[in-house]
């Protein structure tokens, strides 16, 4: 028997995979910030470490549910992961902004917005994550001292809005592809179900053809040998004829079957009862 695929299961697995990748990037990427900021004297180390550790923790949770992933779990872990990163970036960005030397602002936020577009479980979750990365950068900028704001390069921090537009476009495109894949998945599932039904009906028909043939021939013999039984045998013949017509209605399923090697010597009982 062909296993019945589950559309929700397929969607949940994809969402789970995206959340796992996002948490993995957090676990690996945020601690790298410590390396990047090793020359920034006032940079606190705990925010990237806490963020990375949360990423690891969320990965463990996701792994624990790998056999029965749900879209809800994927959404929740993805949003928690995003919130922790954004919180860490909020704290570290103050230290970066005040550090001597030139800081290209909110690189991690830009990267985060693009990563959210690629990995978010769905359109709404992705939009929330992108808004969080971009909104945090803009609010952070507006809450910085004017002197620090003036140190920003030309066009900053507003280039992040362009990143946000690109991220939203990527997310929308990806959501469209996912919707298309889901539609294709549904069609394929329906096709498999129809095939299974067609096989069962045809197996039933093939299974009954031989007994019907036996009854028809036996009735024919009795008609010739015992003409006095004619009225009774006529009733049998009419009943058999009705079963013939029922069998013929199953013929419509013939065109829907894609025959396989397994069909060459089928066991009709197994096809009908499924084992």
């Amino acid at each position: 028997m062909i296993p019945q695929p589950s559309e929700n299961g397929h969607h949940a697995r994809n969402a789970w995979r995206g959340a796992l990748w996002a948490c993995g990037l957090n676990a690996v990427g945020m601690p790298l910030d410590i390396l990047m900021a090793r020359e920034v004297t006032d940079m606190p180390r705990w925010p990237p470490l806490v963020s990375g550790a949360t990423g690891v923790l969320l990965m463990i949770v996701l792994f624990a549910y790998r056999r029965r992933p749900t879209a809800r779990l994927a959404r929740t872990t993805f949003l928690v992961n995003t919130a922790v990163i954004v919180a860490a970036l909020w704290i570290t960005s103050t230290a970066y902004a005040g550090a001597p030397g030139r800081w290209i602002p909110f690189q991690a936020n830009k990267l985060g917005a693009l990563a959210a577009a690629m990995l978010a479980p769905d359109l709404v979750t992705g939009s929330v994550a992108i808004a969080a990365f971009v909104g945090m950068a803009l609010v952070r900028y507006l809450t910085l001292h004017e002197a620090l704001q003036e140190r920003f390069a030309i066009g900053e921090p507003w280039t992040i809005v362009i990143y946000a537009l690109f991220a939203m476009a990527l997310l929308a495109y990806r959501a469209q592809r996912i919707a298309l894949a889901r539609r294709m998945f549904r069609i394929r599932s329906e096709s498999i179900a129809t095939q299974r039904l067609a096989r069962a009906f045809l197996a039933l028909r093939d299974f009954t053809n031989t007994p019907l043939q036996t009854i028809e021939l036996a009735s024919g013999i009795l008609h010739r040998q015992h003409p006095e039984l004619g009225p009774i045998l006529d009733r049998i013949d009419r009943s058999v004829d009705r079963l013939y017509r029922l069998n013929n209605t199953f013929s419509v399923y013939e065109s829907q079957i894609e025959w396989t090697e397994e069909d060459l010597t089928p066991d009709p009982t197994a096809l009908v009862v499924g084992h």
Binding site: N209, T210, L217, Y244, W259, T265
Partner: protein
């Protein structure tokens, strides 16, 4: 030894086989050799090769040689009589398609009516064995 008037009937269903033999003997006064498998056909040997008409079920069950294998055996051993495949499967089934492609054998769908079967056996019957 089989005779040209004899009918060879291959089907794995015991009841159909027994009924068919009764039918041929009762209504057509001809001998019918009923067999249930490719192995039975080989065991029947020469007697099978001398039958005037061979009616073969295509599907003889899972994991066993089919009626098409029986057809191959008959032709390989010089059988030049009429061969009719009787099948309960869909016309699009691969085995049925293969049987149709053979060219020198007819394919008839189960259940075949008594009238059609009579016509089939009459066509294959030698003059002295016309149906009664």
């Amino acid at each position: 030894m089989g005779r040209p008037s004899d009918v060879l009937f291959l089907d794995d269903d015991d009841d159909l086989r027994a009924t068919f033999i009764d039918l041929v003997r009762t209504l057509f006064a001809r001998e019918c050799h009923g067999i249930g498998s490719h192995r039975d056909l080989i065991a029947l040997g020469e007697r099978a090769l001398h039958c005037g008409v061979a009616i073969l079920d295509i599907n003889l069950g899972p994991e066993v040689p089919s009626g098409i294998d029986a057809y191959g055996w008959l032709r390989k051993h010089g059988y030049d009589g009429r061969i009719v495949f009787l099948t309960g499967h869909a016309a699009s089934h691969p085995l049925v398609m293969e049987a149709r492609r053979l060219g020198d054998a007819e394919v008839v769908s189960k259940p075949v009516s008594l009238v059609a079967l009579t016509s089939l056996l009459e066509d294959a019957a030698p003059a002295e064995h016309a149906p009664q």
